[in-house]
Amino acid sequence: MTTEFYRWTENTWKSPDIDWRKAQTLVAGIDVGSVSSQAVILADDKIFAFCNTRTGSNSPDSAMKALGISLDGTGIKPEDIQFIVGTGYGRVNIPMAKKAITEIACHARGANYMGGPSVKTILDMGGQDLKGIHCDEKGKVTQFLMNDKCAAGTGRGMEVMAELLQVPIVDVGKMSLDVKEEPEPVSSTCVIFAKSEAIGLLRSGWTKNMVLAAYCSAMAHRVVGLLERIGIEKEFVITGGIAKNVGVVSRIEKELGLKVKPLSPDPQIAGGLGASLFARDLLLKSRKTA
């Protein structure tokens, strides 16, 4: 079997302390993105479990898989979950979700939960799109800007580069920082052209690390361009898979002259987490009116 260098590590986490049976509300948010899917289980207002997996060829199966992995071993059956909100690229196609909410609203809400009320600017670097979002202290979206037409600056673009250089994608960031001198960024915008450019650079004697550095800095430059159009207010956070790429994040920080506030437990679950928080709101509201 050939190595799939683009494959990032799928992960799952379960709370060791929370007893879900005692929770007043048990809800879930499922984010079916173009490349990755997440499910977050919320017991009352605490994260009980989450998982992060690769999106398959159709949305319903990907949603089911994400939910299944996050529930695995917890004793929770899907029917125990009282409300599910779907979000992401495939949100309209999640059969078990009672409601679909845009990923922009969900990312802001999730980033607000993880980063606190001081978070004002969110950069979501997803698999196939790039979003700059402004929100208020409650995590409500006030403004946003997105690019979903072009792979430059997206996770998918980075996967293409990892495959080309045969470098596991999780190592890209660290390797890109291991260079003696920061090279000139890759000049092509288009990922297809950047690929040809990278091949040329390798041929001219550049190391893989240098090519990765040049690509990470081109990517950082591109997203900073998008952010500058919307403006940056502190605190600033990054969500999505690329938030885990230290090579891109540190170069964004350098270019902006600003630190990125880290998000815990996982910047990639912001959308799913936001969806689960909306699910809880909706459940509480329906109980009140019932």
């Binding site: 060829s57 072009c150 792979a151 998918r156 915008t189 297809i192 091949i199």
Partner: protein, 254 residues
Amino acid sequence: MITAGIDVGAKTIKVVIVKDNKIVARSINPTGFEPLETAEKTLNEAAKQAGISRQDIKKIYATGAGRKNIPFADHNVTEVTADAKGTNYLRPSVRTIVDIGAEEARGISCDPSGKVLDFSKNDKCAAGAGAFVESMSRALEVTVPQMIEFSHKSTKDAPINATCAVFAESEVVSLIHSKIEKADIAHAVHDAIASRVSSMVRRIPIEKDVALIGGVANNTAIVEAMKKHLGVDVVVPENPDFVSALGAALLAAA
């Protein structure tokens, strides 16, 4: 007088030799990683074909993306100028030229003498260039000629929404997974590139006759799709990939 035109493209290098206003040789090679060596080799092949020596060539003009890196060329001209000159020589009635290369597409409007009046181009993005067709053929796991053949057999429309070639590749993969016929996917791919190129060309006035040149003009499925999207008939001159090099050689003789 004998002159040569060298078109240093992103994917291939083309040479045309012109003697007293007649084409006497043409040669083409993949650009590879050493464009200068390839240019040298291609020129020598063309000279051999014409039965002349390098010294017989009085002037050499370069064009194409790598035109500035050919030290043995006497001068270089933009692809737009070369395209207009070359097309005018082959088809004097053409007023609008669409050139689709491997990494760039252009729309050019010219007067009856082959002088450029206006142009538009895209060189930032692979959508709407030959590179798009190639990456889709890889996704479909067929060769480009096979993809063209498939495309002509299509009976149904299959939607490709993505603009980006990288995203379209994922889309093609999911169309394959959902059991859409390869013929229909191939057709959708050609339709997508033609739609992108047409909207770029529409930034200039489209006047008849319209010619399609560049390597992609050899793709009959694209030609058909371009006719549909532009709503006019499209002529393809003989050896459409050599038109820029021809134009450069003619300009060198002027």
